[in-house]
Every structure is written in structure tokens, then in C-alpha cells.
């Protein structure tokens, strides 16, 4: 016996769909799952609850000095951050000249954002602007001394400005240098090969702190009296050379993953060495090592804090300086608040970099090939 009419479909039981169904399937499927879920929720409550309590409920929001934050059970001391924000962002850069920093940031964003968003036309011009025009503009704006801009000694720079300058110059200088060193290390010409190996191994074998320390404490002893050169410049050179050595090894890893056949095909087409490298090998190799490169850049960004060793105050350094030495703001929670703020800013930048690299990987398809 058959029926022609279709049986009306029954709805799934209500508990299998919607948020309740999802929870039943994923969180409370078995008694063990239920217990684990409850323990997890409790842990989140304890950790996050403590944080919310500290950062919001027990926090001090207004005040003009540390006295406002000195009370029994006081949480975060936010007025410390508001009042010092200019110092944390720009260091001792003169108030009247700070528009130059902001203009530099705006120029950088104006170039970087369209460059990083896929589908915006004119990438070639934008790259030329970022590589050739912007560095000159930024240098003139920040240091001054020409075109009627008052000169601002790098001694006055500080805070996030130093962090960004050291990180950006480090990244921009170490990337091409790292590629050259990686190619040099695989070169057939003995002098280039051994010079590259020697540089990489020596620099990689010495901690960054030691290099900075050497540049600031020992170097002046070997120079004639009254000859000193800019501390920031010392730090920039040190950081750029240091990260170039690391980057060279990351890139070499990518170069080694390119099969010989690719090069031989290039030979067969009659391409020169720069053409083979620039058109065939490097685009593939660099795409392969994007995670490694970004990893190095994030590490470099965080390593900028070491410039504190030579008396430059990056974001962490200037927060630490205020926390430890400004008696006006002394209170039980000043230091925790300050370090929390510094950590948050660092995290925002590093997380941004890692998300951007994830999106490049996705776009270039490097991630799903293996």
C-alpha cells in the first residue's frame, strides 16, 4: 500500500535547535561535559570578575594626584593615565610642536591603509610614496631644523613615538637587509657568502641588550672627548642590524623550500640572476615565510622596550619612569594601572599585526597549500 500525499515533516524537538540546542550539543552533552563547562564558567567568573572589579567597580576615575587613589581597597588609578597621556604618547616632545607627530601619523596612515586594503588602485604609487617620500617627510617633520620648523632634539622624544619610530625603522631597514643577507648566505661567491655568514652568526650570537649596552657605555670611551652621536641613532642601527640577522635566517628557510627546478626553468628562459630571484624565487619564498616574518616583526616591536637600557624612554620605559619616580602620583595602585596600560597598547599593536598577516596569508593562499 502506498500513499501519494507527502507526509508533513515534523519539526525537530525544540530542544535540539536554537541556543538551547547548541548548548545542549556542545556544552552539556554528557555529565563530564557539564561538569567541565561549569568549572570553566566559574574560572571565567573568578578571573574576569576580579578584573572588572579592579578596572571599573573599585577604580578611581577623577583626581589631580595620587592622594585621590590612596584609599582602602582602591582599584585602578585612571586619572594617572589621563593626566600623563600626552607624556606616554609623545615623551617630552614640546607641546607646541606635537602637531608634527600627529601629522606624521596621519601621513603614514594615509599611505598604509589604502596600501593594505585589497582592491584600492594605485598600489605602485602608494608604495613609492611610502618607501621614498614618506620617510623624508617624517624625518623633516619629526626632527625639524629646516623650513622654519624648530629643531627637536631626539633626547626629547619618548613614549609611543619612540616605540613606533624604532619599530618602523627597524622593520623597514631590516627587511631588505635581511633579504640581501639571506641571498648572500646562499651565494656562490665566497667573500659575499662568508661575510653574510659571519655577520649573521656574530649578531645572532649576541643579545640585543649587550649590543645596546656596548653602543651606549663602551663606544663613547673609544671616541674622542666631546664627540658623541645621537642615542636614538645608536639604538636604530643596533635594532635594525639585529633584526636583519634574524630575518635573514627566516627568509633563507623560505628560499630553501623552492625546488631547484624553478631556478633551472629560469635559466632555460635566459633570465638573469636578479630576474630569477625577483620574479620567480623571492615571491614564492616570501609568501611561504609570512608567519615567520610577522613573528620577527612582532618580536622586534616588543624588543623596542630594551632601548631603556641606554636611557631612551619608549612607551614601557616612560610608564615605568612615571610610576617609579613621580611622587605626585604615588599610590598603591599607580604601578599596576601604568603597566596595565602599557601592556594594553602593546597588545593592540601586536594583535593588529598578527590579524593583518593572517588576512594576507588567506589572500595569497599560502595557508591552505599545505
Amino acid at each position: 500500500m502506498t500513499t501519494d500525499a507527502a507526509t508533513p515533516g515534523t519539526r525537530p524537538p525544540r530542544l535540539d535547535t536554537g541556543p538551547v540546542g547548541w548548548m545542549k550539543k556542545n556544552l552539556f552533552a554528557t555529565p563530564t561535559d557539564s561538569v567541565l563547562t561549569l568549572i570553566g564558567l566559574y574560572l571565567i567568573y573568578v578571573l574576569l570578575g576580579g578584573f572588572i572589579d579592579w578596572a571599573f567597580l573599585r577604580a578611581t576615575w577623577t583626581g589631580t594626584d595620587g592622594k585621590a587613589c590612596t584609599w582602602e581597597g582602591a582599584g585602578a588609578c585612571w586619572p594617572f593615565i589621563w593626566n600623563k597621556l600626552g607624556l606616554f604618547m609623545n615623551g617630552r616632545y614640546p607641546d607646541a610642536e606635537r602637531w608634527r607627530i600627529y601629522l606624521t601619523y596621519a601621513l603614514a596612515l594615509g599611505g598604509l591603509v589604502p596600501l593594505m586594503v585589497p582592491g584600492v588602485p594605485g598600489k605602485l604609487y602608494l608604495s613609492l610614496y611610502m618607501l621614498l617620500v614618506f620617510p623624508v617627510l617624517a624625518f623633516i617633520l619629526l626632527t625639524g631644523g629646516i623650513f622654519g620648523l624648530p629643531a627637536v632634539d631626539t633626547q626629547l622624544w619618548g613614549g609611543l613615538l619612540i616605540t613606533l619610530v624604532v619599530a618602523c625603522v627597524g622593520i623597514a631597514a631590516s627587511f631588505p637587509l635581511g633579504i640581501l643577507l639571506a641571498l648572500g648566505r646562499r651565494s656562490k661567491l665566497p667573500i659575499i657568502k662568508w661575510a653574510s655568514i659571519g655577520f649573521i652568526e656574530i649578531v645572532r650570537g649576541v643579545p640585543l641588550v649587550t649590543m645596546l649596552f656596548f653602543a651606549s657605555v663602551m663606544l663613547p670611551l673609544f671616541l674622542p672627548e666631546n664627540v658623541t652621536f645621537d642615542k636614538l641613532l645608536r639604538a636604530l642601527i643596533g635594532v635594525a642590524l639585529f633584526s636583519a640577522a634574524y630575518l635573514a635566517e627566516v627568509i633563507r628557510g623560505g628560499l630553501q623550500a623552492i625546488p631547484r627546478g624553478q631556478l633551472e626553468a629560469g635559466d632555460a628562459l635566459g633570465l638573469s640572476y636578479p630576474q630569477k630571484m625577483g620574479l620567480i624565487v623571492l615571491p614564492q619564498a616570501l609568501k611561504l615565510v609570512i608567519p615567520g616574518i610577522v613573528n620577527s616583526f612582532i618580536a622586534l616591536f616588543k624588543d623596542t622596550s630594551l632601548v631603556l637600557i641606554i636611557g631612551l624612554f619608549d612607551l614601557l620605559g616612560i610608564v615605568q619612569q612615571s610610576v617609579q619616580s613621580d611622587a605626585k602620583w604615588f599610590s598603591p595602585s599607580t604601578s599596576t594601572t601604568g603597566y596595565f596600560f602599557a601592556g594594553l597598547v602593546f597588545w593592540i599593536f601586536c594583535f593588529g599585526m598578527s590579524r593583518y598577516s593572517a588576512s594576507i596569508e588567506k589572500r595569497l593562499g599560502a595557508g591552505d597549500r599545505r
Partner: protein, 341 residues
């Protein structure tokens, strides 16, 4: 390894000392005048001595000495370039000529004064080890600490000093030692010890960072000598004189009751000592290579010693350090300046 590094550093520093002795023929004062700014080495951050304020302007007792020297030379206390230096960098920075003057809470000791090309120009703050205790204990003096538990940082002269103090006074005590300063302070704040010992200026700082500053009190006793003062390169006594007399001018001004507020009235004073100090009589600036109103400029621009002390570390600041040893010699302290005549 550490020994080797230290040995190497000592050798380099000694070498630098002998090199700078040769170069020191050039007069620092002339160099500074020609440059138009004073390069002053300060601490990278020490509460009350050198710290940037909310706007990033340097302030503090050590910073005020830099300002005072600049005022004496340029009639403008702002003509200073501050070079923040770590403890390790400070002497090389001075010897290499990166700074003209080191005003960075440096303890005057014989070994430092007689070796490595350094020359101390005075004492602008007498520090020393003291004790902080809970107010509720009701103690008046460190001699009443018999049987107390004392939080102390290990491996420092602080630890040796406290042992000596209790032994000489035949008192019992129980030391609770920690590797790091932060741990030591935390232990004291959590109530593990009755007393916490460190340099007095530091005790006042830590008191402010404690959850209940008003329940802690720093005892008046000072059990060690830590005279902190400005340092210059050896072999340029003219420059050392400028720095030394800048400090003396501030102390003399306090003694004579001349402050930044009343100085313009004091110009008309009949007191011969004030007249000589402010350059109304005699030619005292010339001996320093400065103009005769050098002391006027210091007091006008920075203030006398009492003003600088109160503003930065004393009653007028949150630290609230008592004058104690830093009071004038005729008020029970040690700040004493030779007369200007």
C-alpha cells in the same frame, strides 16, 4: 664571568680616566659658555631628585642644582639639556664629556673621589639608612627596636649596616631578608615585619606607595652615611668651583633669609654679607669666571636651598621628608656653606 666583565670595565674606566686627564686641559666653563647649554646628567627617575612631571618637565632636588648652575652661567635656569643616565652609564658619560656635570644622587666615597677621574663638588643631600615602622607601635627611636623583626634587602650594604647597628647597641633583632626591594616592601606592608630598613629618601617614597601611608612613620635615627652630591671631571678645578659655589650660594641664601620671593627687596639690604653675595659689593663672580650677579641669578631663578628642598622632597611635596641632617648647621643639621668674602 662576571668577575672578568667587571675587571674589563674597571680597566676601561681607568684608561678613560687617564685619557680624560689629558683632555681636561680645555676649560669646561668655556665649553659650556660657547655651547650655550649645560649638559647635565640626572637620574632616569628618582622620586624627589629627578623625575619628569605630567608635562614631561624635569624636576627634583638634583635637577634644581643643574638649573642653578645654568642660572649662574647664563642667567637662565632653562638652558639645561638633561641627560638621563642609568647607574652604570653615569661615570662614562661624565668622563667621555657627554655631560658637563653629574647631578645624580651619587654617594661621595673615597674610592670614587680618588680614582677614575672623578671629583666631587659638594653634598646637596645627606642621605642615610633609617627605619620605617607602623605608627601603632608608638616608637620614638630606633633604639627601642629591641626584639623587632626587620625586613631588609639581602646582599647590600643596607644589610651590613643594620647588623652593625643592632650589635653596637646590644639589641636583639630578627632579620627577614629578601632578594628584591619590591618583595621586601611587600612583606613589610603585609605585616611580616615590624620595621623596614633602607635609605631614608627611599623609605618616604615607599611609604607613599603603601596602602595606608598615614599608618607608617619613618624614625628620626640615621645609621649610615650616604652623602649625595654633584660630580665633575677631575683636573678642572675652575669648573668644580662653579658647581661647588652654586650649592654654597643656595645654602648661604637660606642662612641669610634671602629667597626667590624677597630677593629684589634684599638688593637694597644693608647687611654686608647679603651685599657681597648678591654682587653689590666686591668682585666675587670674577673668581668663578662669571658675572658678579651670579648668586642673584641662582636665587632668583631657582631659589635658596630651603625652597628647593621643600618644593622637591620636603614639606611642600607629597614625600614630606623632614629636614633632619639636611637642616642648616645652626638649626641642628649639616648643611654648612663657607662665607662669601
Amino acid at each position: 664571568m662576571t668577575f672578568l666583565i667587571k675587571g674589563g670595565l674597571v680597566a676601561v674606566v681607568a684608561l678613560a680616566g687617564s685619557v680624560s686627564a689629558v683632555f681636561a686641559q680645555t676649560k669646561t666653563l668655556d665649553t659650556v659658555k660657547a655651547r650655550g647649554t649645560l649638559n647635565c646628567g640626572v637620574n632616569t627617575g628618582l622620586a624627589g631628585f629627578s623625575a619628569p612631571d605630567d608635562k614631561g618637565q624635569w624636576g627634583g632636588l638634583d635637577v634644581d642644582l643643574c638649573k642653578a648652575v645654568a642660572a649662574a652661567i647664563f642667567k637662565d635656569p632653562t638652558k639645561v639639556k638633561y641627560v638621563p643616565l642609568t647607574a652604570k652609564e653615569r661615570f662614562t658619560a661624565l668622563q667621555s664629556g657627554e655631560v658637563d656635570l653629574l647631578s645624580r644622587n651619587t654617594t661621595w666615597t673615597m674610592s670614587r673621589d680618588t680614582s677614575s677621574g672623578l671629583n666631587f663638588a659638594g653634598v646637596n643631600y645627606y642621605d642615610g639608612q633609617g627605619f620605617m615602622v607602623k605608627k601603632s607601635l608608638g616608637l620614638k627611636s630606633a633604639k627601642e627596636l629591641n626584639g623587632a623583626t626587620v625586613c631588609v634587602q639581602t646582599g647590600t650594604t643596607t644589610e651590613l649596616n643594620v647588623t652593625d647597628f643592632f650589635r653596637t647597641n646590644k639589641l636583639d633583632y630578627k632579620p627577614v631578608v629578601f632578594e628584591k626591594l619590591d618583595e621586601t616592601v611587600a612583606a613589610y606592608n603585609s605585616g611580616r615585619c615590624d620595621a623596614f630598613t633602607s635609605d631614608v629618601s627611599q623609605l618616604y617614597s615607599e611609604r607613599l606607595k603603601s596602602p595606608k601611608p598615614d599608618e607608617n612613620v619613618v624614625l628620626p635615627d640615621v645609621i649610615s652615611k650616604e652623602p649625595l652630591g654633584p660630580v665633575v671631571r677631575q683636573g678642572d678645578s675652575g669648573w668644580a668651583n662653579v658647581v661647588r659655589w652654586t650649592h654654597f650660594a643656595m645654602v648661604n641664601a637660606e642662612e641669610l633669609g634671602v629667597s626667590s620671593k624677597n630677593i629684589d627687596e634684599m638688593l637694597a639690604s644693608a647687611n654686608p654679607e647679603i651685599k657681597r653675595m648678591l654682587g653689590k659689593e666686591g668682585d666675587f663672580g670674577k673668581g668663578l669666571g662669571l658675572e658678579n650677579d651670579w648668586a642673584y641669578q641662582i636665587i632668583k631663578g631657582v631659589g635658596n636651598y630651603a625652597e628647593a628642598f621643600d618644593r622637591n622632597v620636603g614639606a611642600g611635596s607629597r614625600l614630606g621628608i623632614a629636614r633632619g641632617q639636611n637642616a642648616l648647621w645652626n638649626k641642628g643639621g649639616q648643611q654648612y656653606a663657607p662665607p662669601i668674602r
